[in-house]
């Protein structure tokens, strides 16, 4: 088993550069998730690791081997596609064993590996079926099985759960996590769903426009984002941002109708900033500064959508028996060390 190293990896399509020099170290048997909005280059980056896209510049290493110019088949990777990409004319067992069969492995060995994989993925009852007779979740399991039988050093997942319905997605998420525990191989997983990223990853790589915004463990990114983009991307519902201005060592936030003292290095007065507050760190109090526009009761928690006096929108998480109603006027309070400050111009975190 081996890790993956990207050094200054660049991808250009003609004149257009889409990946701008990525450096990344993925450890052995780590579960690494590339996350970012659509078009950020996460799938491209994964396909470059797979060898399906050519790397324009830079170097990709799998373990000690430089694989930058190798064919996909020589890289020791297996890939699971968003669309499953099962061979429709072959049964489940044939689908899983096809790669081995084509590369001249003996039949007994193939059968044994397929049986082992189908046991792990609970596909034993379906081995004789064609893909069209399977449900979406089963198809995705076959696609994963096809990757497992080859015993690759690195598993690559390209948004594998995007085509499943919400319930199956949760189920398969757990399944993939379990699989990672069992197999212990290095896995790279691409998704635009931050919940998948948070729940599965050992390490999250947040990408935007072909650049890495931040790399870290899920909770580190959640607690300690480097910039406004990461802060807004990680966490659900997203962090609230309110415009503010620095006044003599304090932050004046019109949206809260108050001036906040934050335990950070306050920049020079007059700087435009944004204060970031997570919905779960806000508490509603008696007051008349904010109006409740809408509430979503999910059972254990509710999300109240508030409008500030300045017309900005804030989401507040509510627990307990007392919940707000539409049209209520409320105040807000929070612990100042939970609030984060970002420079409006550079979007960087002010610590």
């Amino acid at each position: 088993m081996t890790g993956v190293t990207l050094s200054n990896v660049i991808k250009r399509y003609g004149e257009t550069q889409v990946i701008h020099g990525i450096d990344l170290q993925i450890e052995d048997s780590e579960f690494c998730v590339f996350v970012g909005p659509s078009g950020c280059g996460k799938s491209t980056l994964l396909r470059m690791v797979a060898g399906l896209e050519e790397t324009t510049e830079g170097q990709i290493n799998i373990g000690p081997r430089d694989v930058t110019r190798l064919d996909p088949s020589d890289r020791g990777v297996a890939m699971v596609f968003q669309t499953y990409a099962l061979y429709p004319h072959m049964s489940v067992a044939e689908n899983m064993g096809f790669g081995l069969k084509m590369n001249g492995h003996p039949k007994a060995e193939i059968d044994q590996k397929v049986a082992a994989a189908s046991k792990v993925l609970k596909l034993d009852d379906y081995l004789k079926r064609k893909p069209k007779a399977l449900s979406g979740g089963q198809r995705q399991r076959v696609a994963i099985g096809r990757a497992i039988v080859r015993g690759p050093e690195v598993f690559l997942f390209d948004e594998p759960l995007s085509n499943l319905d919400a319930e199956l997605r949760v189920e398969m998420r757990v399944e993939i996590a379990r699989l990672h525990q069992e197999i212990g191989a290095t896995m790279i997983y691409v998704t635009h769903d931050q919940v998948e990223a948070m729940t599965l990853a050992d390490k999250i790589v947040v990408l935007r426009a072909g650049r890495i915004e931040q790399v870290g463990a899920p909770m580190d990114l959640y607690r300690n984002p480097d910039n406004r983009f990461v802060a807004g991307f990680i966490g659900s519902p997203a962090m609230n941002f309110l415009d503010g201005q620095i006044t003599a060592g304090d932050v004046e936030v019109p949206g809260l109708k108050e001036t906040v003292k934050l335990p950070v290095t306050i920049p020079s007065p007059g700087t435009q900033v944004q204060i970031g507050l997570r919905p779960e760190h806000l508490v509603m109090t008696k007051g008349d500064t904010h109006r409740v526009e809408l509430t979503e009761a999910l059972g254990g928690v509710s999300y109240a959508y508030l409008v500030t006096p300045t017309g900005e929108k804030i989401i507040v998480e509510e627990r307990g028996d007392e919940r707000s109603k539409i049209g209520d006027m409320v105040g807000l309070s929070f612990e100042t060390d939970r609030a984060m400050l970002f420079d409006t111009q550079t979007e960087a975190r002010i610590r």
Partner: protein, 282 residues
């Protein structure tokens, strides 16, 4: 619903429809019906001018037997098969490969080559009559089945490539990528992944080309002469030879000649299964 089902329209319209439809149908099929009836008439009926009346005696069996025993028809039919089948095979083999190359690989002149295949279809083949005849003469292929086969393959492959390439383009490309990541050689991807999925296209293509080639008259006349190499479409004219036109034989021969394409269509029908790729993706 549109159009309104006929059962739901007014009584008078239903009546009009039900009487006009068979009429139109008969008018349309009249030439075929005439040929069918001619083919069971005795030769004497044509001598006495009984073209459109009922046959004076039923000679179907005799006529059809005569087609096979007293004429060169079996020879011509054989020629037709020996020309059509290799052409269909050649076209399908070549065009599935060119289609794969043009549909799967990205290379500089891909589009240019593809457009050349397409453009070839727009050249009216009649203007090539003399050069092609000269060419076959020089190559010593004039009046041979081989000459016709080679020529037909060359001409049909353009259209088939267009068809195949577009079909392969419509296949999910992830299938090919998945196979590549699994380390499957390109020719094996073609053979074991793409070709099985192209079965409906291959079947449709085969029927189409079979019909084209079987029914070809123009090139059969230009490039061949006599029972040595001529296919049935050209050979059938030997019935209007020096002793006048043997209408009954001509008709019986025509019907025999028309059967293979029809049979081909019904045989291949079960292969036209749409949605064979169902279950590949999503």
């Amino acid at each position: 619903m549109f159009p309104t089902p006929i059962e739901k329209t007014s009584r008078s319209w239903q009546f009009t429809y039900q009487s006009l439809l068979p009429l139109a149908l008969i008018m349309w099929l009249l030439p075929l019906i005439a040929v069918a009836i001619f083919s069971i008439k005795p030769a004497a009926d044509f001598a006495t001018g009984n073209y459109w009346g009922a046959p004076t005696s039923f000679e179907g069996l005799t006529n059809y037997m005569a087609v096979f025993t007293q004429s060169d028809m079996p020879r011509y039919l054989m020629n037709s098969f020996l020309i059509t089948v290799p052409t269909v095979l050649g076209c399908i083999i070549l065009s599935s490969m060119t289609g794969f190359a043009l549909g799967v690989y990205r290379f500089k002149s891909n589009l240019l080559i593809f457009f050349m295949f397409v453009a070839g279809n727009f050249v009216p083949f009649q203007i090539l009559m003399i050069p092609v005849r000269d060419l076959t003469l020089q190559m010593g292929l004039y009046d041979t089945k081989m000459g016709l086969v080679l020529f037909h393959i060359a001409f049909q492959t353009g259209f088939c490539t267009l068809f195949m390439r577009n079909f392969i383009r419509a296949l999910p490309f992830e299938l090919i990528e998945a196979a590549r990541v699994e380390g499957i050689a390109e020719w094996r991807i073609y053979w074991f992944v793409v070709l099985p999925l192209m079965k409906p296209a291959l079947a449709a293509m085969a029927v189409l080309v079979f019909t084209f080639i079987w029914n070809d008259y123009f090139w059969a006349v230009v490039l061949t002469q006599g029972p040595e190499a001529q296919p049935v479409t050209a050979g059938i004219t030997s019935f209007n030879a020096q002793f006048g036109v043997a209408y009954h034989m001509l008709s019986a021969g025509s019907i025999v000649a028309a059967l293979p394409p029809v049979a081909m269509f019904f045989l291949m029908q079960k292969h036209f299964i749409a949605g064979l790729t169902l279950g590949a993706v999503k």
